[in-house]
Every structure is written in C-alpha cells, then in structure tokens.
C-alpha cells in the first residue's frame, strides 16, 4: 500500500466482520478476512468478529479479533439485525462492516441507509445485481452476458429423479442448494437423498445441474463504485473437502477467466467483493458455476501474493486512489489446516448469555 497517501484513516478504523464460523469442511470467510487485515503491515485498527452461533471459532480467537458479538440469524429479518447492530454500535462504534455470508446480504442491503446514517461504511452490490447472480437466475444472466454455464433445472419435487434419464438428464448430475451446498450424484437413490438433505437445510427449489468434467478455477476481486475489477487473484483448486471447498489451491493467471469476470461485473454493475467460480471443461470451454457476493474463504491467499483485498476494500471505502498492486505471482500455493481454539468456560458463558465478548485477550 502507498505509505504517502494523504488519507490514512482506514488504517485505524474499527472493522466488523461476519462469517466467523470455521468448520473445517466448509469454513466461513470471516476469519480469513480478519487475518488479512491483522497481518497487513499498516493496519492498526480494531477487528470485531460477528457470528451467528456461540461455537463459531472466530468469536474466541484473540490473535485475530479484538472483540466479538453474536447476531440474530438472518431468517429473523432486517429489523432484528438493526436492533442488535445498534446495541453493538453503542458499545463500540463500527467504521466499516464487511458481510461475508450470502444468506445475510439481503438484510444488510436493506439496512445500508441506516448504517450509513450511523457512520458505518460498506461496499455492497445493489439488490438487483445481487438477485441477478442468484443460482436460480444464473442461466438468464449468462445468456444475457454471453457467458457459458452448465444447463440447470429448478426442482421442487424429488420425483424429478424418477424419470430424469428418460427426459434427457442422465447421470452424473450436480444437485445444489439455492444458497449453499452441492453434491455430485450418480444414481436415483443418491440423487433423491441429496435433494432431500439439501432441501431440508436450504429449502426448495433445489437446483439440478449437468455435470461437466473438468477442473474448477476461481477468481476474487473487489469492484469499485464504477464496477471496475480491482486486485484480481485467480486460483485453481488442488484439493477439496467433501463439500467441494478448497483445501489447497494455487494461484494461476487465466486471461479467459479474467475476461469472463470483467464481462459479468460490468453487466451486473457490481460493487464490492466477489468470487467468480468457473469450470474449465475437458471440452476446452470455460463455464460459469457461481458468483459469490463476498470474499471467499481462501481470501488469505490474496495477502500471500501481495494483493491484500480486504485492505484494498478499506482503501476504496476511504476514498483513496487504489494503490498499484504487484502482479499476482502464479504458482503460490495455500494449504488449509484445522486448528483448535481454547475457550475458557467464562468466555463461552458470556457469549451464550450476553452474546458479547468485549475483549479477546490473545
């Protein structure tokens, strides 16, 4: 970052970050975002972890967060979230909010004018852009933007799998939840079980997608208020968890993926962080799989290649001219590992009873 920039205040801001869950098979991005900022050489501000479950590990990680608070589940709506955020704001004024979970974004978008009136900054996509990249509308978006995507059907009844092969949907198929989760299935019994499991957690419709053999490549970046991609970092997954989440990945430079991301973000008029997930098919084509409206859980890799995206986001929110970032060097690997956080009974009790940890000693 440019040390001579005349508006350095973001370096001392208080940043609230959601997504502090850290289940090894599917971690939220919050801890990685916080870690990027904590390890940025110029950042000296406070980091506040926001979570939805008293067992979210990031809420107790004193080396990463200075304080932590529980929020009401997204399904309780924007009014409950506003009430809780106001309580937190009275306790410790927040300068920037970085939402890191798909399911909560609608509530935060709704509260954006209120948050701004409190002095809280956030860079989020607007509601139309957010909705247009939803999994249920991805095919329409791709058709408009001229981008390839695997053919997808919305399924509201597992009976779809009784005659899908006769109807032109042979196995293997990918069964996906409307917000999260995806499973490759190879037969009727497996497909029905996956459909019912995903529907129980995320509701209907469930998406059924044609399986494209190939490998996944991902891109993350921040879009400024002109929808220009800043600080892109691209990665190929080298190892995945049972849920298909990256366990190891390596930076790449793929011009086709970059062009796809630029096309989509311009078409959507995107603002804020995002992750583009694409599939490089064995047929040589690049298919869009998802657009996630937030930083990915592998965002710490951006710090590793000198393109600290959470810090870039803060600089943009401060109105700074974005600094020149070094080129993302291809061939930089990350390997994730699970780690235990030791929590005293008094800390757990405080979180369960008050939903707050005002000071996390490292």
């Amino acid at each position: 970052m440019n040390t001579t920039n005349p508006t350095p205040e973001w370096r001392t801001w208080t940043i609230a970050i959601t997504g502090m869950n850290a289940r090894p098979d599917n971690p939220g991005p919050g801890m990685a975002v916080a870690r990027c900022l904590r390890e940025h050489p110029e950042f000296r501000g406070r980091l506040i972890g926001l979570g939805y479950d008293a067992l979210d590990a990031g809420l107790y990680h004193g080396e990463i967060c200075d304080a932590a608070h529980l929020l009401p589940y997204p399904s309780t709506g924007a009014a409950a979230l506003e009430e809780r955020l106001w309580e937190i704001q009275q306790d410790e004024p927040i300068d920037v909010l970085i939402p890191c979970l798909d399911a909560e974004l609608t509530n935060f978008q709704q509260l954006l004018p209120t948050l701004r009136s409190w002095g809280v900054r956030a860079l989020l996509p607007d509601r139309q852009s957010f909705a247009a990249r939803g999994k249920d509308r991805l095919a329409a978006l791709c058709a408009e933007a001229g981008v390839a995507t695997p053919e997808t059907r919305l399924v509201t009844d597992p009976h779809f799998f009784a005659d899908n092969q006769e109807n032109g949907w042979p196995y293997p198929l990918v069964v996906k939840g409307i917000f999260y989760d995806a499973q490759v299935v190879h037969g009727e019994a497996e497909a029905r079980a996956a459909c019912q499991r995903i529907a129980r957690q995320w509701g209907y419709p469930v998406l059924v997608q044609r399986f494209i053999p190939g490998h996944e490549v991902n891109l993350t970046a921040v879009c400024d208020t002109e929808s220009t991609l800043r600080g892109t970092v691209m990665m190929r997954k080298r190892a995945v968890t049972d849920k298909g989440k990256a366990w190891a990945g390596i930076t790449i430079v793929d011009d086709e993926l970059l062009t796809m991301a630029q096309t989509l973000t311009r078409h959507l008029g995107w603002h804020g962080p995002l992750e583009v997930e694409a599939l490089k098919g064995e047929d040589g084509k690049l298919y869009l799989v998802e657009i996630n409206p937030r930083f990915p859980a592998w965002v710490y890799l951006t710090h590793g290649v000198g393109r600290n995206l959470p810090a870039l986001l803060l600089a943009l929110l401060a109105g700074e001219t974005p600094p020149e970032l070094p080129a993302a060097r291809p061939g930089t690997l990350f390997i994730r590992h699970a780690q235990e956080v030791i929590v005293g009974l008094e800390s757990l009790a405080a979180m369960l009873t008050t939903g707050t940890q005002k000071s996390l000693a490292a």
């Binding site: 190929r236 990945g249 390596i250 790449i252 430079v253 490089k280 040589g284 291809p330 061939g331």
Partner: protein
C-alpha cells in the same frame, strides 16, 4: 523412422503458450495458466527449454541427439513422443 513432412508443434504448444510453463532447474514444471504441475527428467527439461525458445521439433531433436550422442532419428521419435505427452497436459 521416416517422415514425409516435418513434424509440427500442436497449436496449444506454440512457444508463447509453452512460456506459461515455469520450469525449475530440478525439472519441476508449473503451468501458470492452468495451475497444473508435473516433473520432467533432464532430457525433458532441456527439450522443453529448446521448444520454449522457439526451436522446431526437428531442431530440438537435432540438438538433443548431439548432446546425448544418439542417432537423430531416435531423438526425433523421442521428442515427438514427449511433445504429444506434454500436449495432453496443457489445456
């Protein structure tokens, strides 16, 4: 082995594309575009470096034949085999 026409590099293995491959002295090759990596023996590493620098298959085979002290036709067959194997690794 005899060739009626000179063997040519597959399109995906033109020198510009091959230069996406970073090769370490130990023979570890990393494709910056696809993220794929593989290891090469010394002969393979030298052959790749020659191709990256714009040598044709025949020119690379000629230089390898000289370096390794084998007949040009043997080196040519081996280089062609190497090129086809490499092409399968480059999307």
């Amino acid at each position: 082995m005899s060739h009626s026409t000179a063997p040519t590099l597959p399109r995906r293995m033109e020198p510009n594309r091959l230069r996406d491959l970073a090769v370490s002295p130990s023979g570890f090759a990393f494709d910056a575009r696809s993220g794929q990596s593989f290891t090469l023996n010394t002969t393979g590493r030298i052959a790749l470096e020659l191709l990256q620098n714009g040598a044709s298959i025949e020119e690379a085979a000629g230089q390898l034949a000289e370096m390794c002290g084998v007949a040009t036709e043997i080196a040519l067959g081996a280089t062609e085999g190497f090129v086809h194997q490499l092409a399968r690794s480059l999307p």
